[in-house]
């Protein structure tokens, strides 16, 4: 795989190969993650999960995806048509773009930008816009509730997320993701920045709208939240974006705190994927352990605990960097 990318070293070739690779990765990743989530959920509840289609239900998700594609695309009568149709696309595009800068190994990166971190975090913020569009255009009170919650939650959690990732950036002195991984040659940043790691995982869980912060789509109170009125593949795109977002935040956690592609024996991209799926397992583990927080608890937690702690961590890091 490394060689292939080197052969396609020209900019255009690299872009094309990257695009195909990313689209393949996104779909395979979503198929795998849905299966993994169902298996993790099942085993935590002492049941086997999907077992019928393929080995241990391995291709159950493909069957589900085919069913989803065969479904009718219903557009409710009273929706804001253009915004309603645009929202699933807007939610999916930034997710694809984020893969542009993620280094899967030393050489396996589509475009090694010097503002990689900013690019990913900026595109991640676009997801909120898409959720707001979907909720508002649906003309459904549950969808609006869901999207309002999502906006408030993302405003609250984006801040500690950004401050938290500033600490490792401060230690490296570069926004380039490959530089951040290169700086972890001696030790992983989880050793020197354990608090930042915990804060990052917490914020990332909230960013991806996953339990215990899944208020925007709280199925037990808001039907399905912002995607209540979506059906078929439009709903599928929201679903795909959610699982790909999980991959991206886990990839960032791997790059910032777990040494990216570094690891003995196995090739770099294998180590990278192993670490990413370990982080995703952690997030799934959260989902099947913690009950959903109430909205005021969510906001209180962000503003009173996460943000002060993130600032304290940043100041401490800055102080140590200055003294060293």
């Amino acid at each position: 795989m490394d060689n292939l990318v080197r052969i396609l070293g020209t900019d255009l070739g690299r872009m094309l190969a990257g695009l195909i690779g990313v689209i393949a990765l996104v779909s395979v990743n979503a198929l795998f993650l849905i299966w993994m989530e169902r298996k993790v959920a099942a085993h935590m509840q002492l049941r086997p999960g999907p077992m019928e289609v393929g080995w241990h239900g391995a291709i159950q998700t493909i069957a589900d995806a085919l069913k989803l594609m065969g479904k009718e695309l219903i557009t409710p009568a009273e929706v804001d048509r253009s915004v309603y149709l645009l929202a699933p696309i807007v939610v999916f595009l930034p997710v694809l773009l984020s893969f542009l800068v993620i280094p899967f190994s030393q050489t396996l990166v589509i475009r090694d930008m010097n503002v990689g971190v900013l690019l990913i975090l900026a595109f991640a913020a676009l997801t909120v816009l898409a959720i707001l569009m979907a909720g508002w255009a649906s003309n459904n009170k549950y969808a609006v509730f869901g999207s309002i919650r999502s906006v408030a939650q993302n405003v609250a959690y984006e801040i500690p997320l950004l401050i938290t990732v500033m600490s490792p950036i401060l230690m490296v002195g570069s926004y380039r993701l490959t530089d951040i991984v290169a700086a972890q040659e001696k030790f992983w940043f989880i050793v020197s920045q354990p608090l930042a790691f915990i804060l990052y995982i917490t914020c990332a869980t909230a960013e991806t709208n996953r339990a215990p912060f899944d208020l925007p789509e709280a199925e037990s109170e808001l039907v399905a939240g912002f995607h209540t009125e979506y059906s078929g593949m439009r709903f599928g795109l929201f679903f795909l974006a959610e699982y790909t977002n999980m991959f991206i935040v886990a990839a960032l956690a791997t790059i910032f705190f777990l040494g990216g592609w570094r690891g003995p024996v196995l090739p770099g991209w294998v180590w990278f994927l192993l670490k990413v799926y370990a982080i995703i397992f952690l997030i799934m583990w959260f989902r099947w352990t913690f009950p959903r927080v109430r909205f005021d608890q969510l906001i209180t937690f962000a503003w009173k605990i996460l943000i002060p702690l993130a600032f304290a961590n940043l100041l401490l890091t800055a102080l140590v960097m200055k003294l060293m």
Binding site: V40, H43, M44, Q45, L46, R47, P48, M51, I198, W285, F286, W288, T289, F290, I305, L309
Partner: protein, 173 residues
């Protein structure tokens, strides 16, 4: 300030404790079964519809067609038709329960003088019509005997020999 940090630390500890519980369950063996292929054996306390006790000494049921069960049944869903196979012995030639009316009171089992009835372990009771709920206990007994490798009791013929004493109170035709 101290309470603030204490709250954070205790809260964090409680989260970890919760995660320890779920990961323990994650590695525990599975307790459910893949239903159509695997089945659980029912507990002896389970009360399905009634069936005949298969007496292993005689290799057949103990029913004497006294109709005590049919009389005591509050829903009157048991139909027993007896036939004398010799002057001293009467056996049912028809024993049918219409299970859809059953209130599972168990009076039939309790009232049986020969303890010929018991609760079965049958739990797959879904059917497409009311007739699917009608259970023929004699046919069921034959299946039980086949499963136990015993000789199947044939259904007694409905015959009334001339000169045989009629049951008391019955009007002669």
């Amino acid at each position: 300030m101290v309470t603030y940090f204490k709250e954070i630390l205790t809260g964090f500890y409680s989260l970890l404790a919760g995660m320890a519980v779920t990961i323990k369950y994650f590695v525990k063996p599975i307790v459910t079964v893949q239903y159509p292929r695997q089945k659980l054996s029912m507990s002896p306390a389970y009360r399905g519809h009634t069936e005949f006790v298969l007496d292993l000494e005689t290799g057949t049921h103990r029913c004497i067609a006294c109709e005590m069960c049919a009389r005591i049944c509050p829903s009157q869903l048991i139909t027993v038709e007896g036939v004398k196979i010799d002057p001293k012995k009467k056996v049912p030639r028809k024993y049918v329960i219409e299970y859809q009316y059953c209130s599972l009171c168990g009076l039939c089992v309790e009232s049986c003088p020969t303890k010929a009835l018991k609760f079965s372990e049958e739990y797959r009771l879904a059917g497409f019509s009311r007739e699917d709920c009608v259970v023929d206990l004699l046919a069921r007994l034959q299946a039980q005997q086949q499963r136990a490798g015993l000789a199947v009791t044939p259904r007694p013929e409905a015959r009334r020999e001339e000169g045989e004493a009629k049951p008391e109170g019955e009007v002669k035709g």
